[in-house]
Amino acid sequence: MRKIFIDFRKCVGCGSCVAACAREHNGKPNITLIEASEIMMMSLNCRHCENSPCMLVCSARALYRDEDGAVRVRHQDCVGCMLCEIACPFGMPRFDERRKVMVKCDLCAHRRKEGKLPACVSTCPTGALVFATEEEITRIKVTQNIAKREELLKKVEKIMGGLR
């Protein structure tokens, strides 16, 4: 179960992910960046929730979870009722006018098939997007915190001339 984690401390809102997503998905992005203030960014994108409200409400049973944990639309079953868009807390699934079905983030299924990362993750210039399992993320966070703690200890030692 790998998911995209966003490190908002690194995100500067350059919009690369939006453009990459649009390129991979026929010109319409599945990510919406919101500029909350001059320096704060917020992104609305599919979180592939564990208890997905979209999957629960889908009357046609067109939404399913694939082997990597991505919530995807089976387009031949979708009736385009937009219930999933109403149920989604982020309002992410959107209606495709041409195909008359709902479209949402599929974690770049075609790229994952080739063994690549989703387009938004591979393109992020600051590395704010990480595609990993929850355990991996925990490990990354722990190592970061340990490194910070060690740095702090070193600083303290430098100033106080050693703790012992």
């Binding site: 500067v12 809102g13 960014m41």
Partner: protein, 623 residues
């Protein structure tokens, strides 16, 4: 498979692999390499939508000629080139210096080289690029100080312990540079951002300094002042005139002018003192002010005194390349002076060339010439006041890949191929020459720029224009321009070739800046943000500080009238924490272009980042 192309949008020169389906560009792949300008092939929004350019509706496809009723008719290449030959021969017979050659910054090195060769063999040195108002000022100062040896590639950012970003916001202009900044930050580097605006780059910064727009040079002089008091030995490297200048800007005076606290000035000086391997990056925020040239000199002097590496950032894909190729009135290719023209005479098979310095871009536009040849830039929408010059000119040729405002003034419009439709090299801001493959045939009858110029040269009976491939031109360049590679050194190499620059004694130099006028200033941003994909384009509003807004009695969404020397415009304002006091931040647009005066200082710097203006509340008439 030769399908690695260079992104032409900014001066990073990002490398992209194009995947083809049925021999047509279909999608792009991120390159997995480390040592290319964009590590791991990361791309920004403009780079990600790169192949959209190929199918743009704005593309020019056939040569056009204006009729007497003011309509364009399609003509054949033969007729277009014949007409150009005839008209240009007429002008060059009377007075070749009446023709102006202006190039863009997104053309290949080969096209740029042939463009200046055409101009110089026709007998004029009036050849300049749009880089003249930004990047050329940095390079002129760099050449003056002889700081070529301090110029480092982007990979040094990752290993440095101090990064100073001055007048340059990578989030907007070169987002891929952020990957190097993040790497530096992870290695424990300190990052200092000097920008009048508050932008999201602040997240990565350790110290943010917000000077008033246009006052950067005074801030630098104050920092130099502090450095000299901390380290008096450094003063031995400066000429006496410079010492006098520096001593008149103590931090207290700097605080008065720039609005930056004296403490912040001292802490920047201390950071540079503590660092052993710092990098200093600057961009058009400095060069596009009235004191652009002295500011760049002061910045390079600061770097030279403290042993910092420098990277001057250009605005477009080949800002550096067009200057290296001599598309400037002051130098021949490779920054050779007109007195050292002998190798060029031999290679160009001519007895002599015009050895007088030509007019620069702004002089050409403000004095008005009888004919213009504009290559690869929509100059009317980029340079304020270009309209008037083109209206007065008798004959204008506009050669570009896209339609633009300049078409209105053109007599002949030629369609040109994009960089990745014709092939060629570009040089990015670290001086890396990158070969861009040809991935597709140009649309319609469009042709590569170098091909058109070579044909024109042959028709004008100029010697040595028999080129059929860009490789032949690059070979000639490699002979004439020191350091430039041969085709075999750059082809099929994703990492390109870094031009070795001459190293020599760095001679720090300073010039006294002009004082600024006007209380309220206009800071124009986003001039190089064309081609931003539709999906991330924001709304266009002017941003104003909360305090200024309350003085003027404005609230969000109100309109203001902005008056400058050249005219006035009505803009909607948004109250924001981004601008400093007495500043209106506006996005470059067509309405705005008309109110910016074409006013240059004695160094040829055009003021776009600190235009004096008067801002008043605009009362809409209620009928």
């Amino acid at each position: 498979m030769r399908t690695i192309i260079t992104c032409p949008h900014c001066s990073m020169g990002c490398r992209v692999r194009v995947r083809k389906v049925i021999s047509r560009p279909f999608n792009i792949d991120y390159l997995p390499f480390e040592d290319i300008p964009n590590p791991h092939g990361k791309l920004c929004a403009r780079g990600n939508s790169l192949i959209e350019l190929l199918s743009s509706k704005q593309r020019l496809k056939r040569p056009l000629k204006i009729t007497e009723s003011g309509k364009f008719v399609e003509i054949s290449w033969d007729r277009a080139l014949d007409e150009m030959t005839l008209r240009f021969s007429e002008f060059s017979k009377d007075d070749p210096t009446g023709i102006g050659f202006i190039s863009g910054e997104m053309i290949s090195n080969e096209s740029a080289y042939l463009f200046q060769k055409l101009a110089r063999l026709m007998g004029t040195n009036n050849v300049d690029s749009t880089a003249a108002i930004s990047h050329a000022i940095s390079i002129r100062a760099l050449n003056e100080i002889n700081a070529w040896g301090m110029w480092m590639p982007f990979s040094t950012i990752g290993e440095s312990d101090l990064v100073i970003l001055w007048g340059f916001n990578p989030v907007g202009t070169a987002p891929v540079l952020l990957s190097w900044l993040v790497k530096a930050k992870e290695n424990g580097a300190r990052i200092i951002v000097v920008d009048p605006r508050i932008t999201s780059i602040e997240k990565l910064a350790d110290l943010v300094v917000q000077p008033l727009p246009g006052t950067d040079v005074f801030l630098m002089l104050s920092i130099l002042n502090v450095i000299l008091t901390m380290d008096p030995d450094a003063s031995a490297r400066l000429p006496p005139g410079a010492l006098r200048l520096i001593s008149s800007y103590p931090p207290v005076r700097g605080e008065e002018i720039t609005g930056v606290s004296a403490d912040a000035i001292i802490s920047i000086a201390r950071e540079t003192e503590l660092s052993s391997s710092g990098v200093l990056l600057w961009g058009s925020g400095i060069t596009m002010t009235i004191n652009g040239y002295p500011a760049t000199l002061a910045l390079i002097t600061l770097a030279a005194l403290k042993g910092l590496s420098i990277i001057p950032m250009g605005r477009y894909g080949n800002s550096q390349g067009v200057l290296d190729m001599g598309v400037t009135p002051y130098y021949l290719p490779g920054y050779a002076h007109y007195t050292d023209a002998e190798p060029f005479l031999k290679a160009w098979l001519v007895e002599d060339i015009n050895r007088e310095e030509g007019m620069n871009l702004v002089e050409m536009l403000s004095r008005g010439l009888s004919a213009f040849y504009i290559l690869g830039t929509d100059i009317v929408s980029l340079i304020p006041g270009a309209e008037r010059a083109l209206e007065r000119a008798g004959f204008v040729v506009f050669q570009n890949a896209f339609q633009g405002k300049t078409m209105e003034f053109a007599d002949i419009v030629l369609p040109s191929a994009l960089l990745f439709e014709s092939g060629g090299t570009t040089t990015n801001s670290e001086g890396r020459v990158l070969w861009c493959d040809r991935i597709k045939r140009p649309p319609g009858e469009a042709k590569g720029d170098f091909e058109v110029i070579a044909q024109l040269g042959r028709r004008m009976k100029l010697p040595g224009f028999s080129y059929a491939f860009p490789e032949e031109v690059l070979r000639e360049i490699s002979i004439l321009v020191p350091g430039y590679p041969e085709p075999k050194d750059v082809k099929n190499r994703p990492d390109g070739f870094i031009v070795p620059r001459r190293k020599g004694l760095v001679v720090p130099k300073l010039e006294s800046p002009l004082s600024l006028d006007g209380r309220f200033r206009l800071l124009v941003t986003g001039q190089s943000m064309r081609f931003l994909p539709e999906v991330i384009k924001g709304e266009n509003t002017a941003k104003i500080n909360r305090e200024d807004a309350s003085v003027l009695g404005l609230k969000n969404g109100d309109s203001v009238i902005v008056k400058t020397d050249a005219g006035s415009a009505v803009l909607r304002v948004k109250i924001s924490s981004s601008p400093p006091r007495n500043t209106l931040i506006v996005h470059w647009s067509d309405e705005l272009r008309k109110i910016i005066p074409l006013r240059i200082s004695k160094w040829g710097c055009l003021d776009i980042k600190s235009v004096p203006c008067v801002v008043e509340r605009y009362e809409e008439d209620i009928h």
